[in-house]
């Protein structure tokens, strides 16, 4: 399978995502330049972290209008896998591919720290190698990661089991203290109704080698790889993270 990582002006974690895919997971990947209009036949599109167009207006608000995004939206609507990390999550919300929005953190400050997130649902291509309720250690780094949505949307998200990740403490409890940015319902990641578009604030690409402090992020990448290979989830649990 082939990964595509979109490079917006101001993308920062694009090369880190590529490193995780190419160097750690040894999978082929291409860069998709924001001015291009060709997805080069990739199987999954990643919108990486960073500050696209400086994020001076509203995070992701400009990137959503770049030429490549038109194709990404078409791709998603055809059922293609699209994965937004941090700024990529913000772009997906701005593009209407995911519900809700990401606003300034509760304490109005940027936060870079290790976070614990609980996997809520495993029937998606992004999480099916995880156990339900499993706690992953993945770092966060954002100033605008507070997930908000109106009550009806939140209710629908919960009903449809679209919340994939929630901030928890090390024991797996979704407390206020464990919530680093004030996200409603401690939401750290959501999937669309079609379960093919996923956005999360934590950075799995920064948790792919033990020396990074955690390699839990691999499980998400490996889920996508396994899903694309079309094998059943049951066999795939044998594909252990790490080397």
């Amino acid at each position: 399978m082939r990964w595509g990582v979109v490079v917006f002006p101001g993308s920062n974690d694009d090369q880190d995502t590529l490193w995780a895919i190419e160097q750690v997971l040894c999978e082929p990947a291409v860069r998709l330049w924001h001015k291009d209009t060709d997805l080069q036949g990739v199987d999954v599109v990643v919108l990486p972290g960073g500050f696209s167009y400086g994020d001076y207006l509203r995070c992701g608000a400009m990137a959503r209008f770049s030429p490549i995004m038109e194709k990404v939206i078409e791709f998603a609507n055809r059922g293609g896998l699209v994965w937004g990390i941090c700024n990529g999550f913000q772009v997906l919300c701005e593009a209407g591919l995911l519900p809700g929005a990401l606003v300034r953190n509760r304490d109005r400050r940027f936060v870079c720290a290790m976070s614990y997130v609980r996997v809520e649902e495993t029937d998606t291509p992004f999480t099916h190698l995880c156990r339900r309720g499993e706690v992953l250690r993945i770092p966060i780094k954002h100033g605008e990661g507070c997930y908000v949505a109106d009550a009806a949307t939140l209710e629908r998200l919960e009903r449809n089991r679209q919340v994939l990740l929630r901030y928890v403490d090390s024991n797996g409890r979704a407390t206020r203290e464990a919530n680093p940015n004030g996200s409603l319902g401690n939401i750290a990641g959501v999937v669309n109704e079609g379960r093919n578009v996923f956005g999360l604030m934590p950075h799995p690409e920064h948790a792919v080698e033990k020396w990074m402090g955690s390699d839990d992020g691999l499980k998400l990448f490996q889920s996508v790889i396994a899903a694309q290979r079309g094998a059943g989830a049951a066999d795939l649990t044998a594909v252990a993270p790490g080397h």
Binding site: N12, D16, A20, F51, D55, R109, F110, V111, W211, G213
Partner: protein
């Protein structure tokens, strides 16, 4: 005003307004054989400013060692460059942005980061890490919280957006910085050793190209008025002299420049930093011993009707000037267009040795390059030790009563903002982007891997200004020694230094004495530890209302670690490990944090240091790490042995581990626990490695004492201290947030 009025000859009154002395103005007129016009006066005033000319420091900076087998580029360029082997090199530099950060903390700090990033990628290096050395006033001062909040947000706002991780630094709080904070930013980048870009113009007729943001009216005279004169409490009115940062444009500029550097189109390149277009063009011409001509009509401007004076002196950010190979103009334009940036030919290299600028079809400035650079004034200013030095250095230990509750003393010290966790600060910085951060903020030194190699870089920044206030020579020696020791504790071999020398007014003999003493201290320490100083920055006039800041010669140390997996951190790792101390504890309390926090005194002399001993202690530690003997290594610094042991217990990112140790009662208890004797390192190791460590130490004649072992969840120092690690951690972790959240409450009260 009509810009042509700028071309009239000026008099001494204008010159003094521009910060020149009457003598300097006379010298200028004599050299030109006429009075300059206002545009020329503006150019001369910035080039002759302390900030650009180093006129008070130059004679002393020459004393610093700047050569060595690894040095590829010493001082005099945008950054120093050191060879790290296998065809790779690192470029690094530290720079101050003190006054702007006091006037406008967010933008001042942000543009400080922006400037130092440009200095490094100008050399052809991709920046891979930022460190920040910050000095704020006391929390009792009403402006401190506002400044901390703004500076930290500014550093994060810029560095995070550009996508270069901020991986470490140091922060101290002292009333001596109440009205003059320090913001020193360091950047390091990696480049091919055989492809260093320099700012030396060459090739008469080659085009001079302007790239990046448009020129606006911001930051005019930042270098001469803000950085080269003392404050008189007019922070508010000087706000317009502070530049505004645009990290997004910087990111594009960085990527575009690095992409262009892959092609053979650039002859010379320099960041437009302090004094903008003027200093970048003049300095490039000076290094190439050539001339430069600028057509100011072609400079992209942000505002209409900008005068030539404003265009030349603007310090708008995110701009670079480069000399391109003739015929490569389109190639340059294409690369910048890809990144949505402008690249414009604004002049050319000449052979007349002159700085010439035209505007509206007229020549508006014509000045000899040499007059602006090599022939700028140089002062060997008088230096004299302060008359009260002896009195300040006196300390009668017998008059210092010893406390009874040592647990309480330890807790009180961990609550001191200088010793407390700086997590409130560094959590606001992206320390992970680029995926190289092996050890981020929170240990003695940061460690970064270099992708595609087995190498790691180890970075630390250090300066105890209380030591420097009590004895600037010893203080500077310790700053170098401790920065190196921090690097060694992480497993790195120190290979190079950059310094940021922050002092008061050089026109005061007492300040000049501090400066000269500090230079001598850095020189001696660097010679003894075989370290070249490859770049640096001098920041004078850190004064407010006539008070100088404590002398602060900040030292940033770069170390090499190979293989990178051999890195070490400061915290205890395993229950049952042996805890040992390398080095010797003396009965010393002068200039200590204990004396300041517990007894409210700044007195005495800094701890004794012998550089030969220092070297040996570092060598034992480094060899032990390379042999894989150590589980942790932590430098003993402010707060002494007890605080160092507490830090080993509580700084583990996940779980605190306790320790049970015994110290022989060989001196005053407070000196034993909290004295800051130098050249000491606390290590922990498997019991089976103890004999080997002891032998290593013995071979080099370094004292090595077994103190106890890693055990349980309490820190026990027999027979004085016995506290739960969780209690220590709670105090240490909450000290800064507690003080900062007070500010948030006030803010809300004001807004509400």
């Amino acid at each position: 005003m009509n810009w042509e009025q700028l071309l009239r000859p000026v008099d001494e009154y204008h010159a003094i307004e521009h910060g020149l002395t009457p003598e300097e103005f006379e010298r200028l007129c004599r050299a030109l054989g006429r009075a300059p016009n206002l545009v020329e006066l503006g150019v001369v005033s910035v080039m002759w400013s302390e900030h650009c000319s180093y006129k008070s420091s130059r004679v002393h900076l020459r004393k610093l060692p700047s050569t060595g087998p690894r040095v590829l580029q010493g001082p005099g360029e945008n950054a120093g460059v050191i060879d790290i082997g296998d065809g790779l090199a690192v470029a690094f530099k530290i720079e101050s942005h003190n006054h702007p950060s006091y006037v406008e903390p967010y933008q001042g700090a942000a543009t400080g980061v922006g400037g130092i990033l440009r200095d490094v990628f100008t050399m052809g290096a991709r920046p891979i890490a930022i460190l920040d050395s910050l000095r704020f006033g006391s929390f009792d001062h009403p402006r401190t919280r506002y400044l901390v909040e703004g500076v930290v947000a500014g550093i994060g706002g810029y560095g995070n957006c550009v996508g270069v991780p901020t991986v470490g630094g140091d922060t101290y709080f002292d009333a001596g910085y109440n009205a003059n904070i320090l913001v020193n930013a360091f950047t390091i980048g990696v480049l091919p050793a055989n492809r260093i870009f320099r700012a030396r113009a060459a090739g008469v007729g080659n085009p001079v190209m302007y790239v990046g943001s448009k020129t606006g009216r911001d930051g005019i005279h930042g270098a001469s008025l803000l950085a080269s004169a003392e404050f008189r409490g007019e922070a508010e009115e000087k706000r317009p002299t502070v530049q505004v940062g645009d990290p997004f444009t910087e990111k594009l500029l960085l990527e575009a420049c690095l992409e262009l550097m892959e092609q053979d189109a650039i002859v010379a390149i320099q960041d437009m930093g302090a004094a903008g277009l003027t200093s970048s063009s003049v300095e490039m011409a000076a290094r190439g011993q050539l001339g430069i001509w600028l057509d100011l009509d072609r400079v992209p401007t942000r505002a209409q009707g900008m005068t030539p004076y404003e265009i030349l002196l603007s310090e708008s950010q995110e701009r670079m000037l480069l000399v391109a190979r003739a015929g490569c103009e389109d190639q340059v334009r294409d690369v910048f267009a890809k990144w949505d940036l402008e690249a414009v030919v604004v002049g050319r290299v000449t052979d007349d040795g002159l700085f010439r600028a035209s505007y509206g079809g007229r020549e508006v400035a014509r000045l000899p390059i040499a007059l602006l650079t090599d022939e700028a004034p140089v002062y060997d200013r008088p230096a004299r030790a302060p008359s009260d030095l002896d009195a300040r250095q006196r300390l009668r230990l017998e008059e210092i009563p010893q406390p009874h509750d040592w647990n309480a003393v330890l807790l009180q010290l961990l609550d001191s903002p200088n010793l407390a966790s700086k997590s409130w600060i560094y959590r606001q910085y992206d320390s992970l982007v680029r995926g190289n951060t092996v050890v981020g903020p929170g240990s003695d030194a940061a460690v970064l891997r270099i992708k595609g190699t087995d190498k790691g870089l180890v970075l630390s920044v250090d300066c105890n200004s209380r030591y420097c206030l009590q004895d600037p020579y010893v203080g500077a020696v310790i700053a170098v020694a401790e920065a190196a020791r921090n690097v060694v504790c992480a497993g790195g071999e120190p290979i190079g230094v950059t310094d940021c020398l922050n002092f008061g007014s050089p026109e005061k003999p007492e300040v000049m004495w501090q400066f000269v003493e500090a230079i001598h201290g850095i020189r001696d320490a660097c010679i003894a530890l075989r370290l070249p100083v490859v770049s640096g920055n001098v920041s004078f006039y850190n004064e407010t209302e006539g008070h100088s800041i404590p002398p602060t010669p900040t030292i940033a140390m770069v170390g090499l670690l190979e293989p990178v997996r051999a890195f070490t951190t400061q915290w205890f790792k395993n229950e049952g490990d042996v805890i040992a101390l390398l080095g010797q504890t003396r009965e010393e309390l002068g200039a200590s944090e204990y004396l300041a926090v517990i007894h409210g005194q700044v007195a005495g002399v800094p701890p004794w240091i012998d550089l030969a001993v220092e070297r040996k202690v570092q060598e034992v530690c480094l060899r032990a790490i390379r042999e894989g003997l150590l589980a942790s290594a932590h430098d003993v610094s402010e707060g002494g042995l007890a605080v160092a042991l507490a830090e080993c217990c509580i700084t583990h990112p996940e779980a605190a581990l306790g320790a049970v140790v015994e110290l022989p009662a060989s001196m005053r208890t407070d000196a034993l626990l909290f004295g800051e004797s130098q050249s000491r390192i606390v290590v922990s190791l498997k019991r089976r490695n103890w004999a080997r460590l002891r032998d290593l130490a013995q071979q080099l004649g370094v004292p090595c004492t077994m103190l106890g072992e890693v055990r349980g969840r309490r820190l026990v120092i027999h027979p004085w201290i016995d506290v739960e690690c969780s209690a220590l951690r709670e105090v240490w972790a909450s000290a800064l947030p507690r003080r900062m959240e007070l500010a948030a409450v006030h803010d809300e009260a004001r807004q509400g």
